[in-house]
């Protein structure tokens, strides 16, 4: 019981990480809920084995990304901003906030979802301001490879966002 309480506190401390990872690999609420549930379940199962050898955030990123990548649907789906139902997207947020920001945020998610799966993970970690060392550690890549790829993805993401909505993102 105490163990569960401890996990509950831990989960709420890091829930944003899990939600963001799940959102990047899903384009509808049903999938999002499934992925979120699976990530929480796997974190709960391995919570006892987590002894703080790695940073808590590193551990969560690894579990969440591994779960999402292994849950990926087989269909090749490239998501564009127009495929996202704004009404459905609004329900994702529990608290209403600035509409312009909401649109920008959804556009950012939509642009990231157009990237390859691995690139999505990299840009997520970049936006979360993780160091290259931590990114390399989470993904199992070389640091130099991380740097090269991040530069390429940044350019790609800028093109995706500015190409479609220069007025809002500039």
């Amino acid at each position: 019981m105490q163990h569960k309480q401890e996990f509950h506190g831990f989960l709420n401390e890091h829930t944003a990480i899990i939600r963001k990872v799940c959102r990047l690999y899903t384009d509808n609420q049903a999938d999002f809920h499934d992925y979120f549930q699976e990530v929480v379940l796997q974190l709960w199962k391995s919570f006892t084995s987590f002894r703080g050898e790695a940073k808590a955030s590193t551990w969560i990123y690894r579990v969440a990304l591994n779960v999402c990548l292994s849950q990926l649907k087989l269909k090749k789906r490239r998501i564009t901003a127009t495929t996202i139902d704004p009404e459905a997207a609004k329900h994702w947020a529990d608290e209403p906030y600035d509409t312009t920001q909401e649109e920008q945020f959804q556009r950012l998610y939509a642009a990231i979802r157009q990237l390859k799966e691995l690139d999505r993970a990299l840009i997520l970690l970049y936006l979360e301001e993780r160091s290259y060392e931590e990114m390399a550690d989470i993904l199992g890549m070389g640091i130099s490879n991380v740097g090269v790829r991040i530069n390429r993805i940044k350019k790609q993401l800028n093109q995706l966002i500015h190409g479609r909505a220069a007025s809002t993102m500039a």
Binding site: R19, Q42, W44, S46, N66, V67, S70, A121
Partner: protein, 196 residues
């Protein structure tokens, strides 16, 4: 990119929605949708079933050795299957979600490939034993009346053979449809790691 990072962090409040104790109870009490774990269950069941087959085989060989060569081949195959399933289960146990992504994907790919190989092994072994039984049946038919193939039974044999081949073809394409896409996806993801 700085404005994107700022936007990302501003949106964090929305993502910080807390999980209530009731929600947590519901989340952890639901069954996992982990596909790899489901494959592991199948392998485990087959592993246990193979253990049951082993003593039955040994007993049958001792009790009535009709085709000694076939019986020995079956015994060797069963022992190999036990080794194969054990290896597959160990392979699964090495898959850890807290591993780095590349390692995790490599291990997952290797496990799924083993799982698919098991199907292929089963149907090739079925064909192999079908041929051995057919050949042995013909060979022993000279002296043993109960094993003779009459002209009419050749038709039955052809029908059974046809059904077996159909089942094998069906299984082959079913596997291809069901698992090959996943294998390709995992390979594609892993290949992505080596690209710059």
């Amino acid at each position: 990119m700085e404005e994107l990072q700022a936007l990302w962090h501003n949106a964090s409040d929305e993502e910080n929605t807390q999980v209530s104790k009731e929600e947590l109870d519901a989340l952890v009490s639901q069954s996992s949708s982990n596909e790899l774990a489901k494959l592991r269950k199948v392998i485990y069941l087959e592993y246990v079933a193979t253990w049951f087959v082993l003593p039955i085989l040994v007993f049958s060989m001792y009790w009535r050795s009709v085709f000694p060569l076939l019986a020995i081949s079956l015994l060797v195959l069963t022992v190999y299957l036990l080794y194969f399933y054990r290896k597959a289960l160990r392979q699964f146990d090495q898959i850890r979600y807290e591993d780095n992504i590349q390692n995790y994907l490599q291990k997952a790919l290797s496990f799924v490939k083993t799982y698919v190989r098991r199907y292929k092994m089963i149907y090739w072994v079925t064909i192999g034993f079908g041929i051995i039984i057919g050949y042995s049946g013909g060979y022993y038919s000279e002296g043993k009346e109960e094993l003779q193939f009459t002209a009419s039974s050749k038709w039955n044999l052809a029908i059974i053979g046809g059904l077996v081949i159909t089942a094998i073809l069906f299984t082959h394409f079913y596997i291809k449809y069901l698992y090959q896409a996943r294998i390709n996806k995992l390979e594609e993801l892993l290949q992505d790691f080596s690209e710059k």
